[in-house]
């Protein structure tokens, strides 16, 4: 089984639109060189708002086995 306990970013698929950055309720995310980064990963509450609105499936809440 795979616990959903980690914020995962697939940088290759990120197109840098910034939607996840804008709608993250804890302001965990930011853009760096046109790609999303979890700047304050420790503040992430795994709410999944980023995954919900990522048009590119580039950010999601997954488990260790997804890495």
């Amino acid at each position: 089984m795979c616990d959903n306990n980690s914020l995962i970013i697939n940088t290759d698929w990120c197109k840098g639109c910034g939607i996840c950055v804008e709608f993250c309720p804890k302001k965990v995310l930011s853009l760096s060189k046109g790609k999303v980064v979890a700047e304050k990963k420790e503040d992430c509450i795994l709410c999944g708002q980023c995954e919900l609105r990522c048009p590119d499936n580039a950010i999601f809440i997954g488990g260790k086995c997804d890495e």
Partner: protein, 273 residues
């Protein structure tokens, strides 16, 4: 590489990342369809996704079902053939505003009129994106497109009202911002035994946004967040609905389904013989 479980289960990973522009809302809408299918635990082998032509209609190639990318505007006519020939299949149509309301407008109203069990999800970005930003049947009056350089003088269609008037038995509207709501509406549409029409309001920062100075994708998404209101709220307080985009379940009225009515004819004839 890292992919979510949904991606691994339902997407053709070899075909990703998709061709849509950075910030295009279509990827969000496509994910809403996938989540609805996953929530309902539908059998992948039994699902047919049929699309037309345009930005929206590239969606069919990314999803791991029986998929049919048809001609411009005709998705619903192909889908009608599939569903009528094999009513056991779960048929989903992905279309766009130009695809379903301009070139395919006739097929939309007749599929709705028949109440054939097809769930249609219209990705509405108010523009022809694939061809580079021409005005569509849902471009608001006064807005600009590459073929409306002096402002669009056409009146725009309300796709949901059109589908409802034509006979669709389940109608709803979600947006790229209201993606969870959209998923729920698609689930309800898939559960409705009849013609369901779900409009997904998208954002097109590249063409519609740029031509009309709407700003970035984030700005356009924020506009959706702040300017939509659920029909349930407006039903109680109509004044709140002024100048807002109405979202949520807009119509739900069960009626006899087309392929089942035809089955009755087959049954009647088999008794006679």
């Amino acid at each position: 590489m890292m992919y979510s479980n949904l991606v691994k289960k339902y997407y053709r990973i070899n075909n990703l990342p998709h061709i849509w522009c950075p910030g295009c809302g279509h990827g969000i809408l496509m994910n809403s369809i996938i989540r609805a299918i996953d929530n309902l635990k539908l059998d992948k082998d039994n699902i047919c996704v049929v699309s037309g032509i345009g930005c929206s209609s590239r969606a069919s190639g990314y999803m791991d079902f029986n998929t049919l990318h048809t001609t411009h505007g005709r998705a619903l006519a192909f889908a009608t053939g599939i569903k009528f020939a094999n009513p056991n299949l779960k048929v989903i149509v992905v279309t766009g505003d130009g695809d379903c309301a301009a070139i395919g407008g006739n097929h939309l109203i007749h599929a709705a009129r028949r109440n054939i069990d097809i769930t249609t999800i219209a990705f509405n970005n108010n523009i022809y994106g694939m061809t580079g930003g021409q005005y569509s049947p849902t471009t608001p009056t006064g807005d600009f497109g590459t073929t409306a350089p002096y402002g669009n003088i056409d009146k725009s269609f309300d796709l949901c009202n059109l589908a409802k008037s034509a006979g669709a038995t389940y109608v709803g509207r979600g947006t790229a911002y209201h993606a969870s709501l959209l998923t729920k509406l698609i689930e309800n549409g898939l559960n409705n035994n009849g013609f369901s029409f779900i409009e997904g309001v998208s954002v097109c920062p590249t063409y519609y946004g740029r031509k009309n100075k709407k700003g970035s994708s984030v700005k356009m998404m924020t506009y959706l967040k702040e300017n939509c209101i659920d029909k349930k709220v407006v039903d109680k307080k109509p004044e709140l609905g002024e100048n807002k985009i109405l979202i949520g379940e807009l119509y739900n009225n069960s009626q006899p389904e087309y392929t089942e009515k035809y089955k009755e004819i087959i049954k009647m004839l088999s008794k006679e013989s």
